[in-house]
């Protein structure tokens, strides 16, 4: 079955919910508010509100741990990654997660748990002092509410694009719901909803890969279709292998990410992964609240085992997008990045791959469940950020800097108010993104560059007792600055960055389209306005074509060869019929008849956050062909190296803390508590070994 998926062929709304679907969505909202109201009675103290009473079982801690990371941005984003990068997208759930989670469970958890810290910045205070804690606490609270706002903004935007829902309504309904249940029940409420979300995400999304595989004719047939369609969908990486985990990482040319094995292992597998899973407090908070150390460790290991299953609902849909999505003419459906000028005008984007598959396979009720899973993912992501914000603000900013001797009721009230303020600031952040939407693209990257230095600082503090407060502070700060510097460097263009040439036809344009074998070969504009960027060689300005028709070239010379001119027609009238149509095409001549108004602009910028300078990319990621994800991984690696070198260097010349002050904080000075005997199937070491063996087996099978 092929469906008309080109934007020009359908209404702009991608999914249409029926009454039953809406009932399912409304039931979800009613349930989460009901849970919040019910749990208010169990949040009577600060420990209850911020740490959920430290009573979680291993299963609840594990499900919450993994759900806090399984937001809709995650599922949609990594499906898009798999569509863009093929099987390499699964590394985020294998080498990019499992070794780090095992390390957290086996090595780091005892330190977090025994020190009874309320947060990761809290550990920094115990180990290094106020300087490192303040930098971490303030950065974390700022980034947390920004990410929460970004999540809210992304949800509203996606619901608007997919379902046509009003952006403001989406932001306020979801925010008020989150504010109600988090303010009432604190972390316990957030964790309840994360566990609920885990079930909804799996049961709402799992049908997509099942039906997709049936539709494709099985695994082997899907892989054949991926190999057949990938060169058509991704023409810039013609030689890339989309179907391997490791076989294609021998060089930068043979995979669609433009990365090699070193970047994958040390950038993703070590720096980014360990930073995210071991020191991002949003994650760690979920397991340090378990009822005892063994539950905290086993909960983390349950999370690791479940994490390895996530590619089934994330990577597989991305691959299916390459195999089973076809346009009405029978050709593979081409999705484009959000930054592509054709995005949302003539083409769907990478991020739409999961919703497209949902629309293709899910009927009434099932579609509502799928959309509910998406909304649940967004809202629990927001709630996770808000609870983490309330904890870190209250314990790591407010208590040490403003009021350190208040009673528990005061901090509980502060936590509740913080939750409300956190949601309000998130709303403000979401609205700021409405006007500065490109910030969204860089926010997650900045979070990356904050948590990698944090990991370097924390791990040296845990494993090396010679690390000094000055060393920890300067290593942390220097690595953050280097991370930001690298980010700025790869987006800097000393010779000026010229966006790709494009010509946009105005809404008043009347056009004639010449086709050959169904494909557009030339476009003639008879009347109206045409705006060009970096097409006209003779500079900017407005002119009216007179005398003979003006022919704009199909391509213009660029630094690395000719660049095809994109012709975009978001809404134009066809000369033959008068019907309104829209289309997009590149590399065809555009003829302007006399009377047509031409507005030309030449754009060049020395700093372009949406573009990567290949010369500078080569310095950071060792290849001019490195894609954004590869640059992020290598930047994470260098950031970790800088953090370790500066911390060690400064520590060697400054005075360490005496051993007495490092007890329960540093390896060698922290006795493991004896939690008594337990059967073999409850031992963390046993399950850590099982997970490690399965990880190796999966990598070998899909090598």
């Amino acid at each position: 079955m092929t469906i008309g998926l080109l934007l020009g062929d359908t209404a702009t709304r991608l999914l249409a919910l029926g009454p039953l679907d809406l009932v399912i969505v409304v039931l979800y909202f009613a349930t989460v508010i009901g849970i919040g109201v019910y749990l208010k009675r169990y949040a009577r103290t600060g420990e209850d509100f911020f740490m959920a009473g430290r009573q979680m079982t291993a299963w609840v801690a594990g499900l919450s741990f993994i759900s806090a990371n399984l937001s809709s941005l995650e599922t949609m984003g990594w499906s898009a990654m798999a569509y863009q990068y093929g099987m390499l997208g699964a590394h985020a759930y294998l080498i990019g997660a499992i070794p780090a989670i095992l390390f957290l469970a086996v090595v780091m958890m005892p330190f977090y748990y025994i020190s009874r810290t309320h947060s990761v910045p809290g550990y920094l205070q115990l180990r290094y002092g106020e300087g490192a804690r303040s930098v971490a606490g303030i950065s974390f609270t700022f980034l947390t509410v920004m990410v929460s706002g970004a999540s809210m903004f992304a949800m509203a935007k996606i619901l608007n694009l997919l379902l046509g829902w009003d952006i403001h309504l989406s932001i306020w309904v979801s925010s008020v719901t989150v504010a109600v249940y988090v303010t009432l029940g604190g972390l316990l409420s957030a964790v309840f909803n994360e566990v609920l979300q885990f079930f909804l995400i799996w049961l709402g999304t799992l049908l997509v890969p099942i039906l997709g595989l049936i539709h494709a004719g099985g695994w082997d047939a899907m892989m054949k279709a991926v190999k057949r369609n990938a060169p058509i969908v991704h023409p810039t990486v013609q030689n890339a292998d989309f179907t391997s985990l490791w076989r294609n990482l021998g060089s930068f040319d043979t995979n669609p990410m433009g990365i090699d094995w070193f970047g994958m292992v040390f950038g993703l597998g070590l720096a980014v992964s360990f930073g995210y899973w071991c020191t991002d407090f949003l994650q760690v908070q979920r397991v340090i609240v378990a009822k005892d150390l063994r539950s905290a460790q086993n909960g983390t290991l349950i999370g690791a085992a479940l994490k390895m299953c996530v590619p089934i609902i994330v990577t597989l849909p991305g691959l299916l997008g390459l195999a089973v999505l076809y346009a009405a003419d029978g050709s593979p459906l081409v999705l484009v990045p959000e930054s592509d000028p054709r995005a949302r005008i003539t083409h769907y984007t990478f991020n739409d791959v999961l919703p497209l598959l949902m629309g293709q396979y899910l009927g009434p009720g099932l579609l509502g469940l799928g959309v509910t899973a998406m909304i649940a993912g967004f809202m629990s992501g927001m709630a996770g950020n808000v609870t983490a914000f309330a904890t870190v603000w209250t314990y790591d900013v407010y208590k040490p800097l403003f009021r350190g001797n208040a009673d528990d009721r005061h901090y509980l009230a502060m936590g509740r108010w913080c939750s409300v303020v956190g949601v309000l600031v998130s709303i403000a952040a979401a609205y700021s993104l409405l006007w500065f939407s490109n910030i969204l693209d860089f926010l997650q990257v900045l979070v990356f560059f904050f948590i990698v230095p944090l990991f370097g600082t924390v791990i040296l503090g845990m494993l090396w007792k010679r690390a000094t407060p000055a060393g920890g502070f300067w290593g942390f700060v220097t690595a953050i600055l280097v991370s930001i510097g690298m980010w700025a460097y790869v987006h800097t263009f000393p010779e000026g960055y010229r966006p790709p040439p494009k010509a946009t036809l105005g809404a008043d344009a009347v056009v004639r389209v010449e086709r050959e074998a169904g494909r557009i070969r030339a476009v003639t504009v008879e009347k109206g306005t045409v705006e060009t960027v970096n097409v006209a060689a003779d500079g900017a300005g407005e002119t009216t074509v007179s005398g003979r028709p003006l022919v704009l070239p199909a391509s213009v010379p660029g630094k690395d060869g000719d660049l095809p001119v994109q012709v975009l027609a978001p809404a134009v009238a066809l000369a033959e019929t008068g019907a309104v149509s829209k289309f997009g095409v590149e590399g065809v001549p555009l003829v302007l008849e006399p009377g047509v108004t031409l507005r030309s602009a030449v754009v060049s910028a020395r700093f372009a956050p949406a573009a990567f300078n290949p010369d500078h990319t080569e310095t950071i990621a060792r290849s001019r062909k490195a894609k954004p994800m590869a640059v992020n991984m290598y930047s994470g690696w260098w950031s970790l190296v800088v953090c370790v070198l500066v911390t060690v260097g400064v520590s060697l010349f400054t005075k360490p803390k005496p051993d007495a002050e490092l007890r329960n904080l540093v390896y060698g000075l922290t006795p493991r508590p004896d939690e008594g005997p337990c059967p073999w199937y409850e031992k963390p070491a046993f399950w850590a070994t099982v997970v490690a063996v399965v990880l190796v087996a999966v990598n070998v099978v899909f090598w």
């Binding site: 469906i3 399912i24 349930t31 749990l39 049936i214 009434p364």
Partner: protein, 67 residues
Amino acid sequence: MTEHGIPIWFFIGALLLVYGVLIFGAGLYGLFHPPQVALANLHVGIWWGALLVVIGLGYVRAFRPRR
């Protein structure tokens, strides 16, 4: 999940049970009015709705508050 109160599993079971009934019903309706989706002939709504009912019932029975 806590030492007191209704376990989270009960809430999950109840919601899945309601969802299962609704989706199963929609699946039965789809036997006579097939939805405009690919693979509609598999009547996914029926067996997926039944699966949700089974999971939901299991959790509700195992974790009902009076236990």
